[in-house]
Symmetry: C2
Subunit: 216 residues, 2 copies
């Protein structure tokens, strides 16, 4: 059975996955990019932006395998871009340049209409206006038997957790303070009845935690 | 200069330091004692309850040194007992039995009057009705040149952090989910301007994080 997974979802010590104040030059909010420092120093990330070098090791391994067996992605509109409300135009093509790292269909949750479009390397973006379950259904269909990955952001991961639709969550705890921002774990009363931690793997810089949905 | 420190303050993956539903048989709330499992398996804890055995290693070392150079403690009333509102009587002497592990004066924050009392082994309990700064002043005086430790719970640590009165915070991230409960990191906008992470030391079971107040 194909699964819905979330991987490399990073939270700060104080529980935030993005700081306040997202903008074109601040996809993780004001001073929030520090959250992803563990990833940005890796070989995987260096290669993604066409550079050499970068750290090997546990963190790099997790990133390298984050797209294993993934046939489609789902993300919130804030992960796709800094715009809010109705789309001002359709010029924005995401944060990732002409050849995004997905290489499969990506379904963007948005209350506002937007045309689908195709990028280099097999990535296409599609906009879903009728809720998380519809997005999931479309993503599973597009994934063609493979798993679907929820990319983020915090609110999207939270909604899928709340609905018990995520099967596996790989969380990364980064030892930094953000002070404020968006939480994944908010209003999820009873979460520990539905989900459990099955693995705890600290690296030198962050802790990787595997959480799975409990079988009934 | 004597410092105000907080040590071994444990938070769950989802950011809670206690679950909901504190009661006489549940000092950390319903099903919340799991939070302290990392401590309960140690040699330090075994010795504290008069048993042999228990795990050595990093977690045990942190616990063993948690009272180093501490001359007085401060805690919230929920850490002292499960009662709420005016004290029904003065029979309750805390969770810790006749010889509590403090061995110094402990100042309990409470809106309600309660007499001071003395326990075995040098621990005494005093009740402070006029706020966190008053408690801190009394604790520093009682500590006689040594440091003061904020024991907990979440709300007490949060109030001292909010007022920038804590100098050093040793946080323990436990990889468990509680779902709901009390947060330390709530409403602390701008915390990252005032505090910074200076050390990250994962053990096999939890991550130890040292946070200090930034010097201006």
């Amino acid at each position: 059975m194909p699964k819905l997974v979330a991987r490399c979802i990073t939270i700060s010590l104080d529980g935030f996955s993005a700081a306040k104040g997202q903008a074109l030059d601040a996809p993780f909010g004001k001073d929030g990019l520090r959250l992803m420092r563990w990833a940005h120093v890796t070989q995987y990330f260096a290669a993604m932006i066409g550079k050499e070098g970068g750290a090997e090791g546990l963190d790099n391994d997790f990133l390298t395998h984050a797209f294993d067996n993934i046939g489609a992605s789902i993300m919130g509109r804030n992960m796709f871009g800094p715009q809010r409300g109705p789309w001002p135009d359709e010029d924005w093509k995401g944060w990732w340049g002409p050849n995004p790292p997905f290489h499969h269909p990506v379904f963007v949750l948005s209350h506002h209409k937007h045309s689908s479009f195709q990028m280099e390397g097999g990535t296409s973006f599609h906009f879903v206006n009728d809720g998380i379950e519809s997005a999931l259904k479309q993503a599973f269909a597009a994934a063609n038997g493979k798993d679907v990955r929820v990319g983020g952001g915090a609110s999207t991961v939270r909604q899928y957790l709340e609905a018990s639709l995520i099967d596996e969550l790989h969380l990364v705890q980064a030892p930094i303070l953000l002070g404020s921002g968006e939480r994944i774990f908010e209003g999820l009363d009873g979460l520990s009845d539905r989900y459990e931690v099955v693995e705890y793997i600290p690296s030198e810089t962050v802790a990787h935690v595997h959480i799975i949905k409990k079988t009934k």
